[in-house]
């Protein structure tokens, strides 16, 4: 970062800007815009991670489930085109019902899940063994690539063998590109109370949704040091839950906190509602860039709401709603209800960000 780039700016009343590294008295504020947001899928030896192979997609299950007469009907002029095929496959429930909106009306073969032992993520329930706690159901734990035991990431367990979510799959890659090109779902990260970007004992972190699109260069790359206005609601910024944290040796870490992060991807707005979420962000990369991991218990209903909205990609991502639903219900590991069924899924997301100015406009005094 260029330390003097944002020094000594006087801004208009009722407008404040979180600068990439602005000095405001002794405390500084760091501003970032998220440039990459991907489901944290650990990928090394596929045969160890997914020994049963990739999941069986909806199209394949549709084909398998059809009578010979139906197969003739759909193929007597050649195999149906992909779009038509996707629609036929989606409505393969009894009476032509949509199996994504009604995932329990058919019983698909069990989902092929990750059997590997390594995953990105955090130990969210504080237990290393996976026996379950007051806030978690019994589940199998992972070890992080760095060797930290007790990692919770059941989202990886259920999504990790899907073509659509793996590195060369389309879903997360397409999301990043779509956000960049559309300007929708721009997420901001603000770190306040920074004494020193290398070491600060007590800082606060907030996620915001921006109302401005990304600032791109001529090649379509997101430029650092863009200015983004915070999305407001009733004079207060949306999201913006204060999250306590600290910076040690240039790495930000936060305390477990319940909060939501705005999300847009696959032509769909959603809200990543997390409980006991932890965040770490390496702030000391070149040119002020930052990279880290966000993890927490993702509210099941919120997540499935998003999955239903993106059912149009079921063939592209190659998944089966019924199988995924059954597995995710079964493997959900957070916040058991009164019947002992967990209502959230431990998850982790890889986050990359670049310096940005966060513009607070017409904010009421008690907004922060």
């Amino acid at each position: 970062m260029i330390k003097s780039a944002a020094l000594g700016l006087a801004l208009a009343a009722l407008v404040s800007a979180s600068a990439p590294m602005a000095a405001s008295g002794k405390k500084q504020t760091l501003g970032y815009v998220v440039t990459k947001w991907d489901t944290a899928i650990y990928e090394s030896r596929f045969a160890e991670e997914c020994p049963e192979g990739l999941v069986t997609g909806n199209d394949e299950l549709w084909w398998r489930g059809m009578s010979r007469a139906d197969k003739d009907k759909f193929t007597n002029k050649g195999l149906a085109q992909p779009v038509d095929r996707k629609n036929y496959a989606m409505y393969r429930g009894p009476g032509g019902k949509d199996v994504c909106w009604n995932p329990e009306i058919v019983k698909d073969p069990p989902l092929r899940i990750v059997k590997g032992k390594t995953a990105y993520g955090f130990n969210l329930d504080g237990d290393d063994n996976g026996n379950g706690t007051a806030k978690s159901c019994k589940h199998e734990k992972f070890t992080s690539p760095e060797g930290v035991k007790g990692v919770d990431n059941q989202m990886y367990r259920i999504l990790g063998c899907h073509y659509g979510w793996r590195r060369n799959g389309v879903l997360d890659n397409f999301d990043d590109e779509e956000r960049r090109n559309s300007g929708r779902g721009v997420v901001l990260i603000e770190v306040t109370g920074v004494d020193d970007p290398q070491n600060s004992a007590a800082v606060e972190v907030r996620f915001y949704k921006a109302i401005d699109p990304f600032n791109l260069d001529a090649a379509g790359k997101i430029l650092p040091y863009g200015s983004y206005r915070v999305d407001m609601n009733g004079g207060k910024p949306r999201y913006a839950v204060p999250i306590k944290g600290k910076i040690e040796n240039g790495v930000l870490t936060t305390e477990a906190t319940d909060f939501s992060v705005p999300f847009y991807g696959n032509s769909t707005y959603a809200e990543v509602r997390l409980r006991d979420a932890k965040f770490n962000l390496d702030l000391k990369l070149a040119d002020g860039h930052a990279k880290g991991l966000l993890g927490g218990y993702y509210d099941f209903d919120k997540w499935w709401e998003y999955m239903m909205k993106i059912e149009f990609l079921v063939a592209t991502g190659d998944w089966s709603c019924p199988a995924l639903y059954e597995a995710s219900k079964r493997l959900a590991d957070g916040y058991p209800d009164k019947d002992g069924n967990c209502t959230a899924i431990s998850s982790a997301f890889k986050v990359e960000a670049i310096p940005a100015y966060i513009i607070h406009q017409n904010q009421t005094a008690d907004a922060r």
């Binding site: 003097s4 780039a5 000594g8 006087a10 800007a17 430029l223 200015s227 100015y357 513009i359």
Partner: protein, 535 residues
């Protein structure tokens, strides 16, 4: 106090500085200037409305003696240039008579739309012609235009189509495309006066009020002239005039050609380049017109405005994304003065790196009106451009380059100024190091030390060459020609008056507009340059 104010007001009306009488001047030749592109577009918008699309580009004007305004008096229209004027006039005339515009823009309609209506055509052509030609049309001219409309109507069987031909012919006429000044003895006639005033103060064709004042002879009287000058300076359109002057003085037309290596400067875009021109003009009009501030503060001001695109280049927060945001830099910030903005620091740099030499040359030539010779054709830049040079900073590379005695002389004029600005890279972005080495911005200007670009701004603020320069440029711009030797005493007096006015730019323009010299012409024929003064 009232009596003193009255005396001061009287002095201001009659003299240039204090109560000393305005020095006698010879005046220069009346000139014929080609309308600039901005003036053409403004004229069409003023006369027909901003909904008329002026879709063309114009032949460039060669900058002469530091100003396009002077070059406009030494230019012709090429064959291809006239073809564009012809096509443009056709396009504008067609739009004016189009059904969606004619009810608003034309004051009468023919009794029969398929046949000629001389009375209606003459009414329209008389009014429009007066605004286009910046003077009333003679009866012969009106009859001639009406005849074009009549003949074309007969051919086309459409009154409005015929009228369009007449309007087109007016917009192709030298009377419109050139600002023709008509001497009347040793001064300008009333309409030439109105035209000079209008282009100086608003960079626009005279409005109806000013033409009416000219017709009534008001501009021949000091009181009438003063009334019009004060009306026009008080108008919001005065800012347009100030913008036009500084666009010319600072060579801001060159911004359109500013290119940067987008690998090195990814935040630099064509939008940023265009906005950089607007940034400096907003900075100047805010300081000089809105705040009526001291001209010298253009070198030291810490207030400016940035757009979203400029915020990315400067890496500054834009509090009003999509619009313009005001920025006030802190007192210890190196960003001070228009010379540190992209339209200067970036424009006078190479596409891939800064240039202390180009920046120093630009400051001397554009802001101090000093001539720096061009480099000899045989000069070698090998040492300066050597990518494997052990010299990491521009200062070190220039020091090596300046060992060539053929180069050293000019570099002494330019480099000390430009090196102060080395903390701004080729795209005007703030930096502290070059190739990993901390940049040294210290130096001396005219024996006075400076620490950095902001310090250099303070030296420029106090340099009499800077205020003398703007006075010279403003007067030359006002009369549209090079200042002649017979005006030297006047320039001296204007410089003193500028100081007495605490370097208020509107006051300077008012004094020029109200001076006898502004309207005086010598006996030399139009377009013949007079003896140029060595100023």
């Amino acid at each position: 106090m009232k009596l003193r104010g009255l005396i001061l007001g009287l002095c201001a009306a009659l003299t240039l500085a204090g109560c000393e009488r305005e020095p006698a001047t010879t005046g220069g030749p009346a000139v014929i200037r080609r309308l600039t592109e901005a003036q053409y577009r403004t004229a069409i918008a003023d006369i027909f409305g901003s909904q008329i699309v002026v879709a063309s580009h114009f032949d460039p004007i060669l900058r002469t003696d530091g100003l396009l305004a002077v070059g406009a008096g030494r230019t012709a229209i090429t064959g291809s240039g006239f073809e564009r004027y012809h096509a443009l006039a056709r396009s504008i005339a067609t739009q004016v008579v189009a059904p969606e515009n004619r009810e608003v823009l034309l004051e009468c309609a023919p009794a029969n739309a398929a046949t000629a209506d001389d009375a209606c055509a003459k009414t329209i052509l008389k009014r429009v012609g007066r605004l286009l030609y910046r003077r009333p049309l003679s009866s012969e001219e009106i009859d001639g235009s009406a005849a074009i409309a009549r003949d074309a109507t007969a051919t086309r069987g459409d009154f409005h189509a015929g009228l369009a031909y007449a309007l087109q012919s007016m917009m192709e006429s030298p009377d419109f495309l050139f600002i023709v000044e008509n001497p009347e003895g040793d001064t300008l006639d009333a309409f030439s006066r109105a035209t000079r005033l209008s282009f100086l103060l608003w960079n626009a064709t005279p409005d109806d009020v000013l033409l009416t004042a000219a017709e009534k002879g008001d501009l021949d009287q000091k009181s009438g002239l003063t009334k019009q000058v004060d009306r026009m300076i008080a108008s919001p359109r005065f800012k347009d005039g100030v913008r036009a002057f500084f666009s010319d003085m600072l060579s801001l037309d060159d911004v359109a050609n500013m290119q940067k290596d987008t690998v090195l400067y990814p935040a630099f875009t064509l939008v940023a380049a265009t906005d950089s021109r607007e940034q400096v003009l907003r900075t100047l009009t805010d300081l000089l017109v809105t705040k009526n501030g001291d001209y010298r503060e253009i070198f030291t001001t810490r207030s400016t405005f940035i757009s979203t695109a400029l915020g990315l280049v400067y890496r500054l927060p834009v509090t009003n994304p999509g619009g313009w945001s005001k920025i006030d830099f802190a007192a210890d910030d190196p960003r001070a003065g228009i010379q540190t903005q992209l339209s200067f620091a970036g424009l006078h740099s190479h596409p891939g790196k800064s240039s202390p030499t180009l920046r120093g040359k630009a400051i001397r030539e554009l802001l101090m009106c000093q001539k720096v010779p061009d480099p000899p054709g045989t000069v070698s830049f090998d040492q300066f451009n050597d990518p494997n040079s052990p010299n990491r900073t521009a200062r070190q590379r220039l020091a090596a380059h300046a060992t060539d005695s053929a180069c050293a002389g000019c570099h002494k004029l330019t480099d000390p100024i430009g090196l102060a600005m080395e903390t701004f890279d080729g795209a005007g972005q703030l930096r502290e190091t070059e190739n990993g080495e901390r940049i040294d911005t210290t130096g001396e200007l005219n024996g006075k030390p400076y620490a950095n670009a902001a310090d250099l701004g303070r030296l420029l603020h106090d340099d009499p060459a800077a205020t003398s320069c703007v006075v010279n440029r403003a007067y030359s711009y006002a009369v549209g020609r090079t200042i002649v030797s017979g005006e030297k005493a006047l320039i001296d007096a204007l410089e003193k008056a500028f100081a007495a006015d605490k370097y208020r730019f509107p006051a300077l323009i008012r004094r020029i507009a109200l001076s006898d010299a502004f309207l005086r012409v010598s006996a030399a024929p139009p377009t013949t340059p007079g003896r140029e003064a060595k100023l």
